[in-house]
Symmetry: C3
Subunit: 263 residues, 3 copies
């Protein structure tokens, strides 16, 4: 009896670690800092869509875990400077299993991928959410950490390609890309490379920057993001970054998928 | 005498309904939530341009009605998250004949075309403007409405084209585009299809998303937007979305115009 | 003795006027309206990067003067609507030798290059900074000024090219580009053409609007911006507008550099 009980808890623990708790996914009101009555005072339809299409629809769809949806949404909201959504989405992310340390790294990562000012605006709001939930310094990654191991071969290839294409335009950019991003930021251990890639791809789609999608989508898939997940990232972002950005990303993603299938 | 008097009032009513009251177009201060003195304290030139180029220039030009200019401007301001302009522009829109029900639909429409967070930020401000002007629930479209008739043939063509191009990248996006946008949002009756297209095209230009302009500009013109109006939409948006976005849109619009002329 | 003392002060004055005081460049905290403790409460790493990579790194690098870095940063911050950074950056710019009259012109210039709403949001913040530092009306350019001389030949070429490419799409845009921008805004004397170009190029890169970069980067270099400075503008903007925008700008800049070298 006891043996089977333990087995059940092991299975549950395993299931939890695999994100199979999505049946209990937290979905939020999706109206950010506004009450549902506030939204209804402008548009009963918009309030209806918030429940029907977002909270009870998109957020409960299988293709992507609630935790991943939270990571993608936070990346979109910070990229697009949509402060009104951020407090609710940060709370939702924490409820959906994104750790404070991971949120700390996401904000830091986006400082470089969407600009310093967006990260500072996000920091001002995150600070309040962390304080309200009692998230203290001991839960945050330190400034100095032991880096993840670097794939020297892949990094050398990347650096060579950038040196060739970007070097003649801006040697400083080439140097910083190596020193600040790929031999520093990307090696910080408190956000898994797959999740860091998910943040990056989400930011690129949300900003309409399609040119860098191929490199980063390939990297994301090399880091473990599945094709089905990537597909659903695009349709999730239609809601938070607007349909046109999703439509601009789709053909680029398609080309990446097809090239990987052909190999 | 009485007969001719009645005739005059009929003509006036007709003229009003055709937007011919543009001679009395409301133009606003164009300084948003700032006073003219506020602007002058930073740049007397900027304050001068607000009057000379915007209020007394752009907004009084013939090519586009004041009501259309208000729709275009609100779309630009929400797309670019320029909250500081929104209260004045919403009041101006109401003064220029845009109905509260239409504003409600514009905000709802843009939730999908520029992202949920932009719509929520706009909702927070619109709620205040509606409250100050006594706009109540009875003036707003309900969540559930009788849809406009659907052109099944055109919609089938659109869906087939999207399924082919976008389907391999994101089946979820294809499905939502049909279910949420073209068989739901676009069929809501309280914003005329021509005006809904005007909002969409304005949002695309304001966001620099040129790729989707051909489809939506053609749709706008099929829905009744004239070439002269579309031309003036672009030059109007230069002021609110910045010159570079207008310049990026122009060659795309030109190709659309030329292709339609050739047919 | 006295002679040599005077000489020293003359040299110093000359050095100051040439921007050679960059050794004493003001770098700011780079955390905008947030304290360092605020940032540390979310991400000790981000706070570390602010000092290590920005204040003590980027801002002290030789390739671009601190005054130019301030102009570039203010353009990026206004373009991307990052109000949280603006008060500190405006103060930093004034400390780094950007004159109030120049800031006034930068805000005005960006009204047309990134949109009216961004300029109004910037005006609201600049007004407070000017008031706190006692900048009065006598330090600001008047609305009506004596224009710089116009290169009629170059302007005729530009106008002809735009009329041909943009005219068929939007005659209004062509007319306004001539009347409002190139025969008015660009001729205002309180921001040197080279600096006005620097603002424009920075805004284009920050907004991801690569299509207009070739014309304006060439114009900037014709106006005196060196290739080394332009290179460093790109790497500076990686931090404030996000890496993807810098990477999208680099190949376009490279093509401009190569074409100018070939001539």
């Amino acid at each position: 009896m006891k043996g089977s009980l333990m087995k059940t808890s092991t299975v549950l623990a395993l299931a939890l670690s695999m994100g199979a708790v999505d049946a209990a996914a937290q979905t939020g009101s999706q109206t950010g800092s506004l009450s549902r009555d506030d939204v209804r005072a402008v548009s009963p339809a918009l309030e209806h869509y918030a429940t029907d299409k977002l909270a009870n629809g998109l957020w409960k769809r299988p293709g992507l875990s609630a935790r991943d949806r939270s990571i993608v949404t936070i990346a979109a909201v910070i990229t697009r400077n949509q402060g009104i959504l951020l407090p609710e989405q940060l709370n939702l992310a924490l409820d959906n299993g994104v750790k404070p340390a991971e949120i700390s790294e996401i904000v830091t990562h986006l400082a470089f991928y969407v600009g310093w000012g967006n990260a500072m605006a996000a920091t001002a709001i995150t600070k309040e959410v962390f304080a309200a939930r009692g998230v203290g310094a001991e839960q945050l990654p330190k400034a100095a950490v032991d880096f993840l191991p670097l794939d020297e071969k892949a990094e050398a290839d990347r650096a060579a390609r950038v040196a060739q294409g970007t070097g003649p335009a801006s040697p400083g950019l080439v140097r910083d890309t190596t020193d600040v991003l790929f031999r520093d930021l990307w090696l910080r251990p408190d956000l898994a490379p797959r999740d860091r890639s998910l943040v990056t791809v989400s930011a690129l789609i949300s900003a309409g920057q399609v040119e860098q999608i191929p490199y980063h989508l390939n990297r994301a898939m090399d880091n473990g993001l599945t094709r089905a997940e990537a597909s659903e990232v695009i349709s999730h972002l239609a809601y938070y970054a607007g349909w046109p950005n999703a439509f601009s990303a789709a053909p680029v993603a398609r080309a990446v998928f097809e090239k990987r299938s052909a190999n």
